[in-house]
């Protein structure tokens, strides 16, 4: 499902060049729940952005769902993100002026499939129900708890029926109990066939993953899961 070969990603820090990913290889099969562990600043988010086509400045080859991302034009890359990929972020990244339902509907505005507003709303209600938030769909993010906001963000990621869910520190801003619930939700989605790649610095995620990788010195190393 995800193939990355010899990925090199560098940042310029003043005069110095910092190589955050250095010849990284990754292969994730469909239906896996992979946790990538690593301390802050190790390049986990950078890796996620590259795999999700949000950052196109790198060396190497990346394919997701059989589509080669490297060299893809912006429009095609955007279509791929809208149709096959979902993203969940640590700080939820909800639009504060929109209700929970409108936040979930956000991808529908950019869909090239011509979904009618009625069908889009039905789908948004469906995914909100899937994460247990249908009764609070009219609320603004500010009126929701941290766990609820993350559920809205997950519902938004699920709206377009993605093949892969990319999660960047999804439990980082949540307390232990709520974080545990979110991890359970990822497990449930994974059991339904969704490929999930989670980057985190929290070891508890490794308990839920089918495979655990550690990012160190710009490369991935396998670790024992569970």
């Amino acid at each position: 499902m995800i193939e990355a070969r010899a990925i090199v990603k560098s940042y310029r820090d003043g005069e110095a060049e910092v190589r955050v990913l250095d010849g990284l290889d990754l292969s994730v099969a469909g239906g896996e729940l992979v946790a990538v562990l690593g301390p802050s600043g190790s390049g986990k988010s950078t890796l996620l952005h590259l795999l999700g086509g949000l950052d196109v400045h790198y060396q190497g080859e990346i394919s997701v769902g059989g589509t080669r991302l490297t060299g893809l034009k912006d429009r095609a890359l955007s279509e791929l993100r809208g149709a096959q990929l979902g993203f969940v972020f640590q700080s939820f990244h909800l639009v504060p002026s929109l209700s929970a339902l409108e936040n979930v509907l956000l991808p529908s505005f950019f869909s090239r499939q011509g979904t009618s507003p009625r069908d889009a709303r039905r789908r948004a209600e469906e995914v909100l129900a899937r994460v247990g938030l249908e009764p609070k769909q009219g609320r603004a993010p500010a009126q929701l708890s941290g766990g609820e906001r993350q559920r809205v963000a997950i519902a938004r990621a699920l709206f377009g029926r993605p093949k892969v869910l990319f999660c960047d520190e999804p439990t980082g801003n949540l307390d232990a109990r709520t974080g545990g619930e979110i991890i359970q939700l990822f497990q449930a989605l994974n059991r339904d066939g969704l490929t999930v790649l989670v980057v985190t610095h929290e070891d508890r995620m490794s308990q839920a993953a089918t495979r655990v990788l550690r990012l160190r010195d710009g490369k991935l190393f396998p670790e024992a899961a569970g």
Binding site: S78, R81, S108
Partner: protein, 426 residues
């Protein structure tokens, strides 16, 4: 991104900052409103100048004999029947209307009932005879031909003279307001070869009655227009020149032929009396110049509004960088982001344009109402000082749209060029 989705998302985005959007729309509205108001004022005043103050027939030119020419000394350059025949034979000419001034002075002394008010006055009068065809469309009594001696002379009154009477003379003398239909049939005494100021001819004065038979744009402003044959008869009786004409009005077959016709006439040693046309043109040019200056000022306001929109959108885009990152993550392309920013600006601009245009229209109604109530009557005072053609109304809305889009161009490109990964990282 479909247009429907774009519109819905732009509406959602604008909802978050209603005050900012309203402020931007207000700026656009002020500029558009000022422009529409001043252009409508210019068009309205220009129309009054063109249609009422100097009503000009675009295909009609007035030919007069040259004031000084070798031709006249040698016997040429006169407007006699032979010259008229030569003018009539020109290929550009559709019709020829001769004019002959009554070459003796005349006065009118009136004493009696004047439309219900007593009036006693004496005025110096000019009279010009014209071919009936020139004013026939405005004649409402008889066939405008010479009635012969001892019968009332049919006279056509200038519509502008009636306007001046109604707006200045009548209010000053507390005389009744008159309409065109009211004055038709009104008879008044005229004495030819009599004057309070000018020297008269050696013969006796001739008393006659004149009767208004119509009111016309083509009538003599400072006098009365009578049948050509009547003028000829009066001149002959006074021993004055009854053979040459004081002018000839040429009707061109098409207004586009007028410049060529003017050239031909000048080559024949005759002059064109274009004093009124030039006055109309210079007045029209003054109105157009003033309107243009005010319109330019208004466009400057629109440009400032566009700069304001650009500032507001740059600030908005910066504040929404994370949101733009989210949009990119859920499937928005660079073009989608650019279109969204432009659509938001377009909505603000269209709203501003609409409000500005409506505001200008409402203000014009207010100004007209104030003018009706508080401005004293004056000649050619119009019912409305404004003219709002549909193109101006539509143009106002489009200008608002264009100003907002111009202001949004750079911010939208900035938003579209944002790196989504960096935007998400904040």
């Amino acid at each position: 991104m479909t247009p429907g989705s774009l519109a819905r998302l732009a509406a959602l985005s604008l909802r978050r900052d209603r005050r900012g959007a309203a402020f931007s729309a207000f700026g656009v509205g002020i500029g558009v409103g000022a422009l529409v108001f001043f252009v409508a004022l210019g068009l309205g005043v220009g129309r009054v100048v063109r249609e009422d103050v100097f009503p000009a027939d675009a295909s009609l030119i007035d030919v007069i004999p040259p004031t000084i020419s070798l031709g006249s000394i040698l016997g040429g350059g006169k407007l006699d029947q032979a010259a008229v025949d030569r003018l009539a034979a020109l290929p550009e000419v559709a019709a020829v209307y001769r004019r002959m001034q009554v070459r003796v002075p005349a006065v009118s002394r009136y004493q009696g009932d004047f439309f219900g008010a007593p009036l006693r006055m004496g005025v110096e009068l000019l009279a010009v005879g014209v071919d009936p065809g020139l004013v026939r469309r405005d004649v409402q009594m008889g066939d405008f031909s010479d009635p012969g001696p001892d019968r009332p002379i049919p006279a056509v009154m200038a519509s502008r003279l009636l306007e001046i009477y109604n707006k200045t003379f009548a209010p000053a003398r507390r005389l009744p307001q008159l309409s065109s239909s009211m004055v038709v049939g009104f008879a008044f005494p005229v004495e030819f070869n009599r004057s309070y100021v000018a020297q008269t001819a050696p013969g006796p004065s001739v008393a006659a009655q004149a009767q208004v038979v119509g009111v016309s744009d083509r009538g003599l402003l400072a006098g009365i227009t009578i049948p050509l044959e009547t003028a000829r008869r009066l001149n002959r009786a006074a021993g004055a020149d009854a053979d040459t004409y004081t002018g000839v009005a040429l009707q061109a077959k098409d207004p586009s032929l007028v410049p060529r016709l003017i050239d031909t006439v000048k080559r024949m040693g005759l002059q064109i009396d274009d004093q009124e046309r030039r006055l109309a043109e210079s007045t029209g040019a003054a109105v157009a110049l003033t309107t243009s200056a005010l319109a330019l000022l208004s466009i400057l306001i629109c440009a400032l509004a566009a700069v304001n929109i650009a500032h507001a959108l740059f600030a908005s885009v910066r504040a929404r960088s994370r949101e733009i990152g989210i949009m990119r993550a859920v499937g928005a392309s660079r073009a989608d982001v650019q279109r969204l920013v432009l659509a938001e600006a377009a909505a603000v601009g269209a709203l501003g344009g609409l409000l500005g245009t409506a505001g200008a229209f409402a203000l014009a109604l207010g100004v007209d109402a104030l003018a009706t109530s508080y401005l004293p009557p004056f000649p050619f005072k119009p019912e409305s000082f404004f003219h709002f053609p549909w193109a101006l109304l539509g143009g106002g809305v489009l200008l608002g749209l264009a100003a907002a889009l111009a202001g949004a161009l750079l911010p939208s490109r900035h938003a579209a060029g944002m790196d989504p990964a960096r935007a998400l990282a904040g």
